[in-house]
């Protein structure tokens, strides 16, 4: 439970909101004095994905903060749709201080006044690539691509269109929509068959042709379980995690590099509007953007850094996206349009793709 910090005793939410507004207007030097300090015993609630994400941030963000300030970190693990919907349901009284969202959801959350836009109050903000400064603090690039089991799918997959090959029928675990993988799958299908994010009808039609699916997968952990148990043999997933999975658990799995390219995806850390732990949240994100944390991500799960001053071992470069030029090779979309269409596409996905 969050404890009321001494420095803010007597402040109502309205006062705090007013102060935050004033802090936004004031020069940086003034704003730091207005911002609430980090108090011993404070609890920071962070909504993030489980597994490696939790382990790395616990080591590089949670532990240093706990040791330095005597604060507690409350992790709430799960998928993006779950924490996004809770943050929306709780607008005005957030129970999360930080939520991690995908590239498109983060921008909409700022527009809906659920999360805050990024600011230079986080020192490492200065080192972020431009695309990682919209809708929150971009903490990782992790493009989405085609992945498959080479023992079952013996002819290599080199195009997004390969899912429609007869030898893949009934072997595909299609990613659930909405979600980064499901979004990339939908939009790349549209693009591969002559459509675009403004014209997704062709994508829905083509994906429906692939039914029946071996499964619909909702997360990489689920997919890897399906690969382990040979429930499915091909899917669309983050190349980063899958490379780690292939190297450590399942050497049968191939991370393809389709001719149409890989779809951009990025994780964003977003501070909720109305958080009572502003300074602590900013300190957390600053640590997440530190070269040490970004290096750990790159080494452990092949996440590409979002800061220009990352210091990575040379051997990693071939497996990552480094620098503005490489980031530009990723297939990008009009995310404002994508998020606007999300409710409608979700209903269509359930209706035309996932549902029986």
């Amino acid at each position: 439970m969050t404890r009321k910090p001494v420095s803010r005793t007597g402040l109502t939410r309205r006062h705090a909101g007013g102060m935050m507004f004033a802090a936004g207007l004031a020069p940086a030097i003034l704003s730091t004095s207005v911002r609430a300090a980090i108090n011993r015993g404070d609890t920071l609630t962070v909504g993030i994905w489980g597994g490696a994400q939790e382990r790395i941030t616990r080591e590089h963000c949670a532990k240093p903060l706990e040791e330095k300030y005597g604060v507690k970190i409350n992790y709430v693990l799960g998928g993006t749709p779950d924490r996004r919907s809770r943050a929306y349901a709780e607008r005005g009284r957030p129970s999360f201080d930080i939520i991690y969202l995908n590239i498109f959801e983060s921008r909409q959350a700022v527009a809906d006044k659920v999360t805050q836009p990024p600011t230079a109050a986080v020192p490492n903000f200065a080192n972020l690539y431009d695309v990682a400064r919209i809708g929150g603090y971009g903490v990782a690039f992790n493009p989405v691509t085609v992945v498959y089991d080479k023992e079952v799918i013996t002819t290599p997959m080199t195009s997004w269109k390969d899912f429609w090959r007869p030898d893949l029928k009934g072997k595909i675990a299609w990613p659930s929509y909405p979600g980064a993988q499901g979004t990339a799958a939908l939009l790349m299908t549209a693009r591969a068959f002559g459509g675009s994010e403004k014209d997704v009808d062709v994508a829905f039609r083509k994906i429906a042709e692939l039914k029946p699916f071996a499964a619909i997968q909702s997360s990489q952990d689920q997919l890897y379980g399906m690969f382990d148990q040979k429930v499915a043999a091909a899917s669309i997933e983050f190349g980063s995690f899958t490379r780690n999975y292939a190297e450590t658990r399942n050497p049968r799995i191939v991370i393809a590099n389709p001719v149409e390219g890989q779809a951009i995806a990025a994780n964003f850390a977003c501070i909720t509007v109305g958080t009572k732990n502003q300074a602590l949240a900013e300190a957390w994100i600053d640590l997440h953007l530190s070269p040490a944390c970004q290096k750990a991500y790159a080494e452990q799960i092949y996440y590409s850094p979002t800061i220009r001053n990352a210091n990575l071992p040379a051997g990693l470069n071939a497996k990552l996206i480094i620098g503005d030029a490489q980031v530009k090779t990723l297939v990008d979309f009009d995310w404002d349009h994508v998020i606007k269409m999300q409710p409608q596409w979700t209903q269509r996905f359930v209706r035309e793709i996932a549902g029986a």
């Binding site: 799960g78 499964a215 689920q222």
Partner: protein, 590 residues
């Protein structure tokens, strides 16, 4: 509590008079019923009213205000669009299928429970109660392991020559999981009826030459129809509004109404549409209950003292004498097979969870055993997330039963002791929260909490939990109050004891086992609840089962099995405690 402080000395006489009036049921029953009625108004009727209002609101932005321009567009969309109609129909069919499976498997298990010798009875009942009171996520995980490729089921089918069969992520998996989850409700309902049946009727049938099959269809089944009705209604209502098992075992390929409500309300923030679907589910529930009541009333004319027909003879003329003879010969084998299947389905998934919790693999649903380890337990006990969620669950469950006791004890006295004109109607109204899908309450409460952000979110959760456990606790306490020895109270009053003294020294000591039993059942229901709770938790008030559900639907690490095993062990321990206080077969009454 039921009595305020009363003078014990000089005013003892007037105190005694009041006490007699109170305990004889001539006091003010309205006052005793007021707390529970008020709570149900706030925690049940109000959210339902909100859902009804929302369902007629136009579609709009997530934060759109309520308007006076009502529309039926969502109902129209839901009832005219073949896609939605199919989901609703599929959900109802799934509910019917699960109910049928529960009847077929429930009878043998209930009959076996009724026939178990008295000294083994508590243990046998515990075999059913442990799964019943263990939360749905844990049990769904067990069913996942049962059906996993390389698991017992798939291996057996391979052994029979069916090859590699994909059992997970389909209707069969969801149906089996729901049967596992709701079978105990059917068993306990049927057990209630079978236990109370007059053995002499069975003996008479046997004496007249009826074999086991004929006796079952001609005597046991018709006489147990009123109990079966209760089981059917509960199982159908729960199965047709469930979404947790369908989400975990359907692999997003299976869509049921509950999942759609969850998606529309939580992921798409389309509350009016979710509310309209919840209202349709509500209507289906009421319709189904009415139909079941009608059919059972027709099949049990003797209950209304109308002429009876011979169910075993004329209803099935095609079963000629030789047919009955064959059925009688097969009956013992069918009984044993179904009993084994029923008990296996109840216990096997939980056993698999326990075994998997010490399996040395990081993934939670690996069916084969790779080596023994305690490391998942160490990981759980070092994990602040689980410990924090456990504390929230404990706080919520304790707060829930504390409030529920304050509401249900006076109500139990009012129902058990007052000569209320429409006592059964009032009792039925107080049980109503059981008969309507929790998902509608959840959507209504979620919206209420958004409108009134001054109300702490925990309070909304607490209000709903009290509503959910109160009917169970009330039913148990009503029986306990009815069983109190009135003679002792009269003796105490005769000796000059006041109201408070009679309450503290005579009534409460007698009632204590009943209070503790009701509290344990209420605690376990509150602690394990997921379906409604998942809508209402915040990051700070995540309960343990909801946290396991959220993590299980995203990532399946083996720590989930370890924490689930701890929950199973705690449930067994609490039931053992309960068994020392009251006879377990008396503890769980509808």
């Amino acid at each position: 509590m039921v009595a305020s402080a009363a003078p014990a000395g000089g005013a003892a006489r007037s105190g005694a008079r009041e006490s007699v009036a109170w305990s004889a049921g001539e006091g003010r029953p309205g006052l005793f019923l007021a707390p529970i009625v008020l709570w149900l108004a706030g925690g049940f009727a109000l959210p339902l009213a909100v859902v009804a209002l929302l369902s007629f609101q136009p579609a709009g932005a997530p934060f759109a205000p309520i308007t006076a321009e009502l529309t039926a567009e969502h109902f129209q969309a839901l009832l005219t669009d073949a896609y939605y109609v199919r989901i609703i129909v599929n959900t109802v069919l799934l509910g019917l299928g699960v109910t049928t499976a529960c009847i077929v498997l429930g009878y043998p298990v209930a009959a076996w429970l009724a026939s178990v010798p008295a000294r083994w009875k508590s243990l046998a009942i515990a075999l059913v109660l442990v799964p019943l009171l263990t939360n749905v996520v844990v049990r769904s995980l067990g069913v996942m392991m049962l059906l996993a490729p390389g698991g017992i089921f798939a291996s057996a089918l391979r052994g029979l020559g069916f090859g590699q069969v994909q059992l997970l992520f389909g209707w069969f998996a969801v149906g089996l999981a729901l049967t596992q989850v709701f079978l105990p409700f059917m068993i306990m309902a049927l057990y209630d009826g079978l236990q109370g049946q007059d053995r002499r009727l069975v003996e008479a049938a046997e004496g007249l030459g009826a074999g086991r099959a004929r006796t079952f269809f001609g005597v046991t089944l018709p006489l147990s129809l009123p109990s079966l009705r209760g089981g059917i209604v509960v199982v159908f209502l729960l199965a047709s509004s469930a979404y947790v098992s369908a989400t975990l075992l359907g692999g997003k390929k299976i869509w049921v109404s509950g999942m759609l409500v969850m998606q529309e309300a939580m992921a798409l923030l389309n509350y009016p549409f979710a509310a309209a679907l919840a209202m349709i589910m509500l209507a289906c529930s009421i319709l189904a209950t009415a139909m079941v009541n009608l059919v059972v009333a027709r099949l049990t004319p003797w209950v209304a003292q109308r002429a009876t027909t011979d169910l075993g003879g004329t209803r099935w003329p095609w079963l000629a004498r030789s047919g009955w003879a064959a059925a009688d010969a097969l009956a013992p084998w069918v009984y044993r097979l179904l009993l084994a299947l029923g008990l296996g389905l109840l216990l096997l998934p939980m056993g698999l969870v326990v075994v998997a919790s010490v399996n040395d693999v990081p993934q939670a649903t690996v069916a084969s055993f790779h080596g023994f380890t305690w490391r998942w337990y160490r990981a759980v006990l070092d994990n602040q997330r689980y410990i924090g969620a456990f504390q929230v669950s404990l706080q919520l469950a304790f707060a829930t039963i504390s409030i529920a006791l304050l509401l249900t004890v006076p109500a139990a006295f009012a129902l058990a002791r007052h000569k209320l004109g429409r006592r059964e109607l009032i009792a039925a109204l107080l049980m109503l929260p059981l008969a309507l899908p929790g998902i509608a309450k959840a959507v209504g409460m979620l919206k209420l909490l958004q409108w009134y952000i001054e109300i702490p979110a925990f309070f909304g959760l607490l209000a709903i939990h009290v509503v959910m456990v109160s009917p169970f606790m009330l039913a148990m306490l009503r029986a306990s109050v009815a069983a109190l020895d009135r003679g002792l109270e009269e003796a105490a009053q005769g000796l000059g004891a006041g109201r408070l003294a009679t309450l503290v020294q005579v009534i409460l000591p007698q009632l204590a086992p009943g209070l503790v039993a009701a509290s344990i059942i209420g605690f376990l229901i509150s602690f394990g609840e997921v379906t409604v709770t998942a809508f209402l938790v915040t990051a700070q008030t995540q309960t343990l089962p909801v946290r396991i559900y959220a993590e299980a639907s995203f990532s399946l690490e083996n720590t989930i099995n370890a924490v689930s095993t701890l929950i199973i062990v705690a449930t067994v321990a609490l039931l053992a405690l309960l068994g020392r206080l009251v006879r377990l077969d008396h503890a769980w009454r509808r």
